[in-house]
């Protein structure tokens, strides 16, 4: 004695964000029903457990069917299977591609390959994010990476264009892609105190000033790779340490720029010589890929 089949299909597909989020977070149907019950879904419309279960199942099925379309979000707007209001479409995409920063922090700088995918179990345990959700987020990273890797033009715009994401989310993806491409080492113990946001900011800066796209505005190449020539040129910076005059000039310029902008200004001013030397040492070594990868470790260790 059981319900063999139970479906509800509307001409307009209405997405309930609450349930969608539960699905995205990787909850099973039963867990989702429990959560909804706790959130007081039953008091609406005098619903019973069965009703909630059936509703959750229906919505989960809809999400599963939509998921295929979300892989390339531009399809969502001109597919015919579901009639979804425009604002729901935007929401569906944005939410699907949103990610946990804790999770992103864990995979930042790692190769987005099958190998890493196997580590998701551990990451899931560590971060407390459901494995299903980890997989979705990881697959999103890979998908975005694959699409924009070979593309020309500004990285953030490419992500926005292809995945119809908001600018802030696209920037985060740009950071993830950038880190994955350059394989910056971020997993060392010493770097643990840095959050995803910290790295994302750095990525933004690097993309803006250090990449091919940034140096050469002709969109000849993409934003993803650091400009080789530029890194090569960094060697020349040695003069800033070796030459006393230049060192002083550099110091005064930097201090002028940073005055009253950072809290540790006096410390910085006092230690400028050491700091500058350390930084320039790192900079001059950036010709080697290995050293590029260790950029952040070096910055923390020696900076």
């Amino acid at each position: 004695m059981s319900m063999e089949l139970d479906v509800f299909v509307g001409n307009t597909t209405i997405i309930y964000e609450e349930v969608y989020q539960l699905w995205l977070d990787g909850y099973s149907v039963n867990d989702a029903v429990k959560m909804r019950k706790e959130n007081g879904a039953l008091s609406e419309c005098e619903a019973s457990d069965d009703v909630l279960q059936s509703d959750t199942m229906d919505q989960y099925r809809t999400f599963q069917m939509c998921e295929r379309l979300l892989y390339s979000p531009s399809k969502l707007a001109n597919q015919l299977l579901f009639q979804i209001p425009a604002h729901s479409q935007t929401m569906l995409i944005e939410r699907y591609y949103e990610f946990d920063h804790n999770f992103a922090r864990e995979v930042l700088g790692k190769k987005l390959s099958k190998g890493t995918k196997k580590e998701l179990d551990d990451i899931s345990l560590k971060t407390g994010i459901a494995l299903r959700s980890c997989r979705r987020q990881f697959d999103n990273f890979r998908r975005v990476f694959k699409v924009v890797e070979e593309q020309r033009g500004p990285l953030v715009e490419n992500v926005q264009h292809h995945f119809l994401l908001s600018e802030s989310l696209a920037k985060d993806y740009a950071a993830v892609v950038f880190f994955a491409n350059s394989r910056f080492e971020t997993g060392k113990r010493k770097l643990q105190y840095l959050s995803f946001q910290d790295f994302a900011f750095c990525a933004g800066q690097l993309i803006s000033y250090w990449t091919v796209g940034a140096v050469d505005n002709m969109m000849e190449d993409m934003d993803v790779d650091l400009e080789k020539e530029f890194l090569h040129d960094l060697k020349e910076l040695k003069v800033l340490v070796n030459d006393k005059d230049l060192l002083d000039q550099h110091k005064s310029l930097v201090c002028f720029q940073l005055r009253e902008k950072i809290r540790v200004f006096t410390e910085m001013e006092a230690n400028f010589k050491n700091l500058s030397r350390a930084l320039i040492n790192i900079a001059t070594k950036l010709i080697n890929t290995k050293d590029v990868r260790d950029l952040f470790i070096d910055l923390v260790e020696k900076g």
Binding site: S2, E4, D6, V7, V9, G10, T12, D50, L80, S168
Partner: protein
């Protein structure tokens, strides 16, 4: 003579990967019509091929154009092996054959495969050049319009209603042919889809011919059904009402459409038919021509059409054709002429073979009196159809049933049957044929020259929204009175008056004088299959009433099985009827509309489901309560038990009265309290002793005939027992009472009905959601007793309803309209229930009787204080949008529970719609207040830039997506609230099969059916959009046959849907030149409310 069909294949998109090696597809397209096939070039290595083909031209007979679908197959080219089919698109080109409907089919169609579902889309262009056919012996009927809508379509006016048309065609089911053993499931499914498409084309053409013969130009209430008889074949049958429709000239449509009849010679011929085929022109042409031969008569060459056309021309010129003018002329005929007129109509109708009408709602003045429901059922043993060209047996079966219906109607003193429908239920080789309708007396006017103004109905329906104050009933009387119908029938109650002779009643009934006009007699209860007439006076609101019943049956074969079923049927119907009656009383109502009784037969059980919308007709007497009596009142605890139940019932009645706002005027009604007292006194007498005045038990008049043609009539009046007394000594009564009390009330904010609109609700907003829900219940381990089954079935329906309410909670206050349940017993232990309905929101404020004035006041306030009123929400928007962005920037928070600022978009659409209508009103109000309004308008416009900017920033991404898909609304109703239908583009009638051999991988049976239904919706929408439409009205899912074999990981489903493709425009768009700022400002206030 031929027509030229032209097709062009433009492009494809989202094609599936057919070549695993390259992850690409080498696609090409085959375009087939009849026996001619064209091919496009192969578009190599692309999932989004651009073929941009030449125009493929097919020169074909118009007969073929009507029958055949255009068949488009997308294939993957393979150099070494056979080409793989990706999928197909069938395009019904019928809409292009009618000058008034669509002119071109152009758009993206889903490529459908019966095994894989939708696989990408294809862009196709189709046109037809039709040469006019002058041959009067032709077999085609191009140009006859078909409508699923069971009322006069919105932008037409009925000049004449000719009557019933029916036809059926049979064929062998490809699934059961020998060849099916060797071919693939895909080939078999496609053969079936194609055959059914062909058959329905042929059926439509044949019906069209009959309509032309009768002199009509359209079929309204077209109802087509399939009988999958398995081994014995496949029957496609259809019924409808032939009409002559005239397009109402409309400033919004092309002027050329106003007089379509002159556009082609073939149509002139149709007009020519008038004189001969229309019997009801008694004033001008003496005794009416006998019509008996009409339906089946073939065109005999001896009939000279030229002569007839000249004579009919003169007749046409005699008959007044001026809209309302005819109402006046009818008025003059009052008095002695009236009786004569009625007699003549009657005789005219009687001469028709079947005076049946599939319409369920009528132009005012058409329906004079309603007798009650007539129904007939017959159990037949299926045998192989030997000669598909002569489907005599099936024809004879239906003929028999129709005769029975006709005689029932006659017994009720009625000459016509309205709201007529037919259905079947098949299990193995046993088939139950059912027909039902409402016996009625119709006005002669539309049988001759009357013009029906549908616009009138439309405007009346909208009227309460904009006119203030006036009590609804008065408004009705006013409107119908103004049309000059009062001498033909009293307003608002005329249809309730008994059509039969008071002294010679067909069944025992208690008659009282009409509570409205006090002049004519009315029955105490009225059951009908039609929609509530718009002019009817009702008290309070209506509600869905369902009687559900499950009866076990022994497994049997052949003749024995048929006998067993026909023995069970009367009891089933009787009990359903009792349940309906009790539930009606429990809700304190006295009439049922839209009654539909479905009986479904399975191997070991019979299911009965009766659905109707209960209302309180002001004209009918107030119903009494329900009295419970025990047979042996000896035991004290037993009496306690009874009085407990009695109390519960009484409480429920009181609660329901409140819920449905039933407060009939006291003068006319018996005080329920007093009535109850009388009843309690009577209890002693009731038991066993005859009551002097036996209450009328039944409006339902029916009979059953078996395969042996033996007709057994059943008197459903409860013997001599009072209808209100339930004895609980027998288990049946306990069950009845139980089921009475277990019906959960609808949650607050919800109403439900199975008619077009909810009686008592008028202020619909434009928010609507059409849906289909299907449930299948497995009965393993259920104690297979009647009671056990009943409970299961009852719970199944109740839970389904509950689930619907929950899912649609964001639309509250709303009403589920046209709730159409279909039950089936697909296998031994399975019960299947499918529901299609539409949820429509309405404005709560205005639904209150006096709320109107309050709203007016608030609106006035809003106008005078518009600055504060409007800028407040505006600020909120700014805040909420900015905070939304902040939260997006504050990335660390996002992982947790979502910021509240984002929440409001959940039920945005309904909000927006409601608000836009609110703003709309505000604007209207502003107009009436003249100068003061300018301020409001300006502030509204001021408000617009910001939210627009906001929405742009939120949706800026969408611009990348390219042309997004046009929205197509779907509804089972004949209209969309707040809109005006400006064009009917043709009928949509589609049949799909879906099969899978990987059921588990597709998400089990639910996943399989979920995607299939979604695909069907998508294909309907795509076809409508390609015709240039933006909505489907009168949509229905006629068939949903689901079969599964979980052990083999297989399932198969057949779905048949139909509806009318239309173009609508929002009424606000018609009136307002600048709707844009309003919708934008609606955003403002909605988000303001949301935060």
């Amino acid at each position: 003579m031929p027509g030229k069909l032209k097709a062009k294949i433009v492009a494809g998109r989202h094609l599936p990967v057919m070549d695993r090696a390259s992850d690409l597809t080498d696609a090409f397209v085959e375009v087939k019509f009849g026996n001619t096939t064209f091919k496009t070039d192969v578009c190599p290595k692309s999932l989004n091929p651009q073929w941009n083909s030449e125009w493929f031209k097919f020169e074909v007979d118009d007969e073929d154009l009507q029958d055949e679908p255009l068949q488009i197959t997308v294939l993957d080219h393979d150099t070494y092996s056979a080409n793989d089919a990706i999928g197909k698109v069938y395009i019904d080109i019928d809409p292009l054959l009618c000058s008034e409907a669509a002119t071109v089919i152009s758009g993206w169609f889903p490529i459908y495969d019966t095994i894989h579902g939708i696989r990408g889309e294809i862009n196709v262009l189709v046109k037809v050049d039709l040469f006019n056919d002058l041959n009067r012996f032709r077999q085609s009927s191009c140009g006859v319009k078909f409508f699923c809508t069971t009322s006069v379509p919105r932008c037409y006016r009925a000049v004449l209603v000719h009557g019933f048309v029916e036809e059926l065609v049979v064929n062998e089911d490809p699934e059961y042919q020998w060849i099916d053993r060797i071919r693939t499931p895909r080939a078999s499914n496609e053969a079936r889809q194609r055959l059914i498409s062909l058959m329905s084309g042929e059926l439509q053409r044949k019906i069209g011919l009959k309509v032309l013969e009768m002199g009509g130009n359209a079929v309204v209430g077209y109802l087509q059904c399939f009988d999958l008889e398995g081994e014995s074949g496949l029957v496609v049958r259809a019924i409808g009402t032939a009409c002559t429709l005239d397009k109402i000239s409309n400033t919004h449509t092309s002027a050329s459409a106003t007089n379509p009849c002159n556009s082609s010679p073939s149509k002139d011929m149709k007009e020519a038919g008038f004189g001969e085929e229309t019997p009801g022109v008694p004033l001008s042409s003496g005794p009416p021509t006998p019509l008996r031969a009409q339906t089946f008569s073939s065109f005999s060459p001896s009939k000279s059409y030229s002569r007839q056309s000249s004579s009919s021309d003169t007749e046409l010129s005699l008959t007044p054709k001026t809209g309302m003018g005819s109402g006046g002329s009818a008025g003059k005929e009052a008095g002695p002429l009236k009786a004569l007129l009625r007699q003549q109509t009657q005789s005219a109708l009687e001469q028709r073979e079947f005076p049946f009408f599939t319409l369920t709602s009528f132009p005012p003045g058409f329906l004079l009196h309603v007798g009650g429901v007539v129904s007939a059922r017959s159990v037949k043993l299926l045998d192989r159809i030997h000669n598909p060209d002569e489907p005599e047996t099936r024809d004879a079966w239906w003929e028999e049933i129709r005769q029975e219906i006709k005689s029932h109607a006659k017994a009720l003193g009625c000459h016509a049957v309205v709201g007529y429908s037919e259905s079947t239920s098949i299990c193995e080789e046993v088939c139950i044929l059912s027909a039902s309708g409402t016996a009625a007396i119709l006005s002669s006017r539309f049988m001759q020259d009357g013009t029906l103004d549908t616009e009138h109905r439309l405007s009346r329906q909208q009227a309460p929204v904009f006119t203030s104050g006036a009590e609804k009933g008065e408004g009705d009387m006013g409107s119908s009175a103004s049309l000059g119908f009062e001498d033909l029938m009293p307003p608002g109650c005329g249809f309730c008056h008994i059509p039969y002779d008071e002294l010679n009643m067909p069944f025992p009934a208690q008659l009282t004088y009409c509570h409205c006009c006090r002049r004519y007699k009315v029955p105490d209860v009225l059951f009908t299959t039609i929609d509530l007439p718009t002019e009817a006076n009702i008290t309070g609101k209506g509600c869905l009433i369902q009687a559900r019943l499950c009866r076990t049956k022994k497994k049997a074969q052949g003749e024995g099985n048929a006998t067993a079923i026909s023995n069970l049927l009367p009891f089933l119907e009787y009990e359903l009827h009792t349940q309906l009656m009790n539930k009606l009383k429990l809700r304190s109502m006295n009439a049922l509309f839209g009654l539909r009784i479905q009986i479904s037969v399975g191997e070991n059980m019979l299911l009965g489901l009766a659905s109707a919308t209960g209302v309180y007709l002001t004209a009918l007497p107030s119903p009494g309560g329900i009295q419970i009596a025990g047979k042996a009142p000896s035991d004290i605890t037993y009496e306690q038990h009874i009085s407990n139940m009695q109390k519960k019932i009484n409480d429920t009645i009181v609660r329901n009265k409140e819920l449905y706002e039933i407060n009939p005027p006291k003068i006319f009604t018996l005080d329920p309290e007093a009535f109850r007292c009388i009843n309690t006194e009577l209890v002693e007498e009731v038991i066993g002793s005859p009551i002097p005045e036996p209450r009328q038990r039944s409006r339902l008049f029916r009979s059953h005939s078996e395969s042996s043609d033996e007709v057994s009539e059943l008197d459903l009046s409860h013997g001599k027992k009072d209808a209100f007394v339930l004895e609980i000594d027998d288990t049946d009564a306990v069950e009845d009472i139980h089921s009475l009390l277990t019906d959960a009330p609808t949650p607050p904010g919800f109403y439900s009905c199975n008619t077009e609109i909810m009686p008592g609700i008028y202020n619909w907003t434009s928010a609507l959601q059409m849906f289909t829900s299907v449930r299948v219940f497995r009965l393993s381990n259920v104690n297979v007793t009647n009671q056990g089954l009943n409970k299961v079935f009852n719970d199944l329906c109740e839970n389904l309803l509950k689930s619907l309410y929950f899912k649609l909670r964001s639309m509250v206050p709303c009403c589920l309209c046209h709730l159409n349940f279909t039950v089936a017993v697909p296998e031994d232990e399975l019960i299947q229930v499918a529901v299609t309905a539409v949820a429509m929101s309405f404005d709560k404020e205005q639904s209150l009787e006096n709320g109107r004035q309050i709203v007016d006041k608030t609106l006035m306030k809003a106008i005078t204080e518009n600055e504060e009123q409007l800028q407040f929400p505006l600020e909120l928007t700014a805040e909420s949008s900015s905070s939304a962005f902040c939260s997006a920037k504050g990335l660390s928070e996002v992982s947790g529970p979502l910021p509240s600022a984002r929440a409001p978009s959940v039920d945005y659409s309904s909000f927006t719609d409601r608000c836009s209508s609110w703003i709309e009103q505000l604007r209207l109000k502003a107009h009436t207040i003249r100068r003061g309004s300018i301020k409001t308008m300006s502030s509204l416009e001021k408000a617009s830039p910001l939210p627009e900017g906001r929405s742009r920033s939120l949706r800026s991404n969408r611009s990348y997506a390219g042309g997004s898909v046009a929205v197509v609304k779907m509804t089972p109703l004949s209209f969309l609230p707040g809109t005006k239908i400006i064009k009917y583009l043709g009928i949509i009638n589609m049949f799909f099969i879906r099969e899978t051999t990987s059921l588990r991988e597709e998400g089990g049976v639910s996943g399989f059916l979920h995607s299939f239904i979604a695909e069907v919706f998508a294909m309907v929408r795509a076809h409508v959009a390609a015709l240039g439409g933006n909505a489907v009205v009168s949509y229905s899912m006629k068939e949903c046959v689901f079969m599964e074999n979980p052990n083999k990981n297989q399932a198969q489903c057949l779905i048949n849907v139909s509806g009318d493709a239309v173009i609508f425009v929002r009424e606000s768009e018609i009136e307002a030149a600048t709707p844009q700022p309003h919708s934008a400002s609606a955003h403002t206030s909605s988000s303001g409310e949301g935060t």
